[in-house]
């Protein structure tokens, strides 16, 4: 928008002498070759820049990113599988330890039971032996007591006979005492 008039031939048919547009500058055919030429140059430059440098580079970046993400996901998957494996191993070890502990406990219990049984049997046998001995002793004592009673009875009988003035015949007295004691 020049304020002073310019030369008519410089202004051309599209711009008036004040530098304003006459009609639509878009329809000024004088300028078309210039615009088309520079547009073609620009498009060729942009096309070359894009197809040679920019687009392959961006494509490579995007591909690399996709690759990285895929790899990371695969690695994560691997680690997850490993974690699951480790958990399995841990569980297995735990189960093994538990069964081992149970086995040891059962063994110990069985051993103790065996010892206990042995001890009980031994005690039983001792008790039985002692009982038998005691019974024998009691039987002896009983037998001894009967003999003593016989003795005392004979002596008493003999003494009674003698005291009553009779003649104590030992064998007769004995027989009589035996006969009485049986009855």
């Amino acid at each position: 928008m020049a304020t002073e008039p310019i030369a008519a031939e410089a202004a051309g048919t599209c711009v008036d002498s004040y530098g304003s547009a006459i009609g639509m500058p878009q329809l000024c055919f004088d300028w078309f070759p210039n615009q088309i030429f520079w547009l073609v140059v620009t498009l060729v430059v942009i096309f070359l820049v894009l197809s040679r440098v920019a687009l392959p580079r961006i494509a490579a970046i995007l591909a690399e990113r996709t690759g990285t993400i895929t790899n990371d996901l695969a690695a994560a998957e691997d680690l997850k599988a490993k974690a699951v494996e480790a958990e399995e191993a841990y569980k297995k070890a735990l189960a093994d330890a538990r069964s081992e502990a149970q086995r040891i406990a059962a063994e110990a219990r069985a051993e103790i039971q065996a010892d206990l049984d042995k001890a009980i049997a031994k005690a039983d046998a001792e008790i039985a032996a002692q009982t038998a001995e005691s019974e024998k002793a009691i039987a002896e004592i009983r037998a001894g007591a009967v003999e003593s009673v016989k003795e005392v009875a004979r002596d008493t009988a003999a003494a009674l006979v003698t005291a009553l003035g009779g003649e104590a015949d030992q064998s007769t007295v004995d027989q009589a005492v035996d006969a009485r004691m049986k009855g």
């Binding site: 530098g19 300028w31 210039n34 088309i36 547009l39 942009i46 961006i58």
Partner: protein, 251 residues
């Protein structure tokens, strides 16, 4: 258009909404096809921006991307997915071509939003070349890939036989209208928004209206930011749709 040059003599209300689209030579006075003009300058900025966005930002090749690299990867993924969804696997080899179109349009649109910038995509010369490039590519590719079977695009075999010639005429017309709508949609949207902002800016010279004007410019600017991206998106997705016709010309 509504340049109020004559009426504006001596008045503060001067509208030159179309002046921002004037092509100016940076050196000398004349504009030949090879002259370095503001078109050249802003297209050069577009190239720099694209290199900065897609090349420099990815130079670290980080597996965990930074901000700029994320933007580069997002734009890559955005266009790649669009192309793959619409054209299928065999469309992917045209990805650099589609990406070039998208990146140029979106960057040029956004550069045009910088105040006092020159918007290259607001010119029909630019968008018509872009659209014709797509049109010619699609047409040539269609015949090379499918031979005369590409003409099946115009012969709607699913329609009743009596209707097919009529449909063929309609399809043929719509096929040739494609580059026109394709190019005018982009340039028209960008130009209209910029011109409207300029008109509102002209009203800002009146003190009473200027707050409203500033608000309106802000609102339009927001809209233009949306339009800048959406028009680039629309241009690219239509390119993909046309490319699909060339690769698979069956309805």
């Amino acid at each position: 258009m509504a340049t109020a040059t004559d009426a504006a003599e001596g008045s503060s209300l001067v509208f030159h909404p179309m002046d921002q689209f004037i092509v100016k030579p940076l050196f000398g006075d004349t504009i030949a096809w090879y002259s370095i003009t503001n078109v050249t300058l802003w297209m050069f900025f577009a190239i720099l921006a694209i290199i900065g966005l897609l090349v420099l930002s990815t130079s670290r090749r980080a597996v965990v991307p930074g901000r700029m690299q994320s933007v580069a990867e997002l734009s890559y993924g955005f266009i790649y997915k669009m192309l793959e969804d619409i054209c299928g696997k065999d469309g992917v080899k045209y990805f650099p071509y589609v990406m070039t179109l998208f990146m140029f349009i979106v960057v040029a649109n956004f550069l045009g939003l910088i105040p006092t910038a020159f918007t290259t995509t607001s010119h029909f010369a630019v968008t018509v070349v872009l659209a014709l490039a797509v049109f010619l590519t699609v047409t040539i590719l269609g015949f090379v890939k499918n031979g005369t079977a590409f003409l099946g695009l115009f012969w709607v075999s699913s329609a009743p036989l009596a209707l097919r010639p009529i449909l063929a005429v309609i399809e043929l017309i719509s096929y040739f209208v494609r580059p026109v709508s394709h190019s005018i949609r982009l340039a028209g949207n960008v130009m209209a928004g910029h011109a409207v902002i300029k008109v509102f800016a002209g009203f800002a010279a009146v003190a009473v209206i200027s707050p409203v004007s500033v608000l309106a410019i802000t609102a339009m600017y927001g809209l233009e930011v949306l339009v800048s991206f959406i028009q680039a998106y629309v241009f690219t997705i239509l390119t993909c749709v046309y490319l699909k016709d060339a690769l698979h010309p069956h309805h």
